[in-house]
C-alpha cells in the first residue's frame, strides 16, 4: 500500500507544472460556454460529462453559428477520436484490473494525463501504473472542474459586444500548430482548411465533417506516398 501512495504522489507532482496551461484554458472554456448562451448548469455539465476541452470549444463555436445538433455531435466525436489511440496505448498497463476500475480510468483520460503517464511508463517498469496514472488524472480532472467553474462565474460578467467569439478560432490555432509536426500532418491541415472554406455553403455545416474526413485521408495518403518514396531511395 505504501508504494501505491508514493507513486500516486509522484503522478500528482509531475502533472502540476502542466496545470499552468490547463487552468486558463478551462477558465476560457467556461467563459465561452456562458458567452454562447448556455446556463451555468449546462456549462458545468459540459465540463464534467463531455470533459474534453478542444471538443467543448468546437461545440460552443457551432452553437454560436446555429449549426445542426447532429453536426455538433459528429464534430465533437471526430475531435475526440484521438482517445482511441490513448486507450489502446494505456491498455497493456491496466489489463489485470477489473472492468469497473478500467472504466473509471477510461473516463479520466485527457491529453495531459495520458502524455505524462505514458512518458513515465516507457521509462520506468517498476512504477505502480494505476497509482501513478490516478495521481496525474485525478488532479487534472479536479483542476478542470474548478477552473471551468471560475470561468463560468466570470463569463456571466462579460458583455457580448467584446466579440469574444473570436477567441474560438484563436484557441484552435494555438492547439493546431503543435499538431502540424511534419509534411503529412501539414497536408492534412491544408486540405482540411481548404475543403472547409469551399464547402461552407453546404447545409447544417456538413462541410465541416467533409473537410475533416478529406483532411485525415489526405494526410494518410501523403504519408503513404512519402514512405514509398523513402523506400525506393533505400532500395
Amino acid at each position: 500500500m505504501h508504494a501505491f501512495h508514493k507513486d500516486f504522489l509522484a503522478g500528482v507532482r509531475e502533472i502540476i507544472p502542466i496545470l499552468l496551461g490547463v487552468i486558463p484554458f478551462a477558465m476560457i472554456s467556461g467563459v465561452s460556454a456562458v458567452a454562447v448562451g448556455l446556463t451555468g448548469c449546462q456549462a458545468m455539465g459540459m465540463a464534467a460529462f463531455v470533459f474534453a476541452g478542444a471538443s467543448q470549444f468546437a461545440i460552443y463555436q457551432l452553437l454560436a453559428i446555429n449549426a445542426s445538433p447532429i453536426v455538433i455531435v459528429m464534430t465533437a466525436w471526430i475531435i475526440n477520436l484521438r482517445f482511441i489511440m490513448y486507450s489502446a496505448s494505456l491498455a497493456p498497463y491496466f489489463q489485470k484490473l477489473p472492468t469497473r476500475t478500467r472504466s473509471l480510468l477510461a473516463y479520466l483520460i485527457t491529453d495531459q494525463a495520458y502524455a505524462v503517464s505514458i512518458n513515465r511508463f516507457d521509462k520506468e517498469e517498476t512504477v505502480n501504473h494505476q497509482a501513478y496514472y490516478l495521481g496525474t488524472a485525478v488532479v487534472m480532472a479536479a483542476a478542470w472542474y474548478f477552473s471551468s467553474l471560475v470561468g463560468i462565474v466570470l463569463g456571466s460578467q462579460i458583455p457580448a459586444s467584446w466579440g469574444l467569439d473570436f477567441a474560438f478560432p484563436l484557441t484552435f490555432m494555438a492547439l493546431m500548430m503543435p499538431a502540424i509536426k511534419d509534411r503529412p500532418t501539414a497536408v492534412a491541415a491544408i486540405v482540411g482548411g481548404s475543403i472547409a472554406v469551399i464547402s461552407k455553403p453546404l447545409p447544417y455545416n456538413l462541410g465541416l465533417i467533409l473537410a475533416a474526413v478529406t483532411g485525415i485521408l489526405s494526410g494518410f495518403a501523403a504519408e503513404t506516398l512519402q514512405n514509398q518514396i523513402h523506400l525506393r531511395k533505400i532500395l
Binding site: G45, F49, A58, R102, F166, A189, S194, G215, L217
Partner: protein, 108 residues
C-alpha cells in the same frame, strides 16, 4: 443560439457517452482485439485536419462569403494570432495577440 434546454442536455449526454466509449474502447477490448495499424496511422491526422477545418473558414469567410481583403478584421487579426501561435505554441499568448489586434482594427 436557438436550441431548447432539452436539446442542449441531449447534446451533452450523447457527446459524453460517445467520448466515454472512445476512451474506454481499447481499455475494454484489450486482449480480445488489437488496434490495427491503419487505424493508429489515420488517427494521427485527426487534430491537424479538424482544427484547421474549424479555424480557416472562421477567418477567410466569417460572414459565409469568402472575403480576402484588408477590410476583413478577423482575417488580419487571425493571421497575427497564427504567427503568435507558431512561435509561442501557447494559448494565452495567441489569444492576447489575436484579440488585441482584432479590437484595435474594429476601433479604426
Amino acid at each position: 443560439m436557438n436550441l431548447k434546454p432539452e436539446i442542449i442536455w441531449g447534446l451533452i449526454l450523447v457527446i459524453a457517452l460517445g467520448n466515454f466509449l472512445l476512451r474506454f474502447s481499447f481499455l475494454y477490448l484489450f486482449g480480445r482485439v488489437e488496434a490495427p495499424q491503419w487505424l493508429t496511422r489515420l488517427l494521427r491526422f485527426v487534430p491537424a485536419a479538424v482544427l484547421s477545418a474549424l479555424v480557416i473558414p472562421a477567418l477567410v469567410a466569417p460572414k459565409n462569403i469568402i472575403d480576402i481583403s484588408l477590410g476583413n478584421e478577423r482575417l488580419i487579426a487571425g493571421l497575427a494570432g497564427m504567427l503568435a501561435a507558431w512561435y509561442s505554441k501557447n494559448i494565452l499568448a495567441t489569444l492576447a495577440v489575436g484579440l488585441t489586434i482584432f479590437w484595435i482594427l474594429r476601433l479604426i
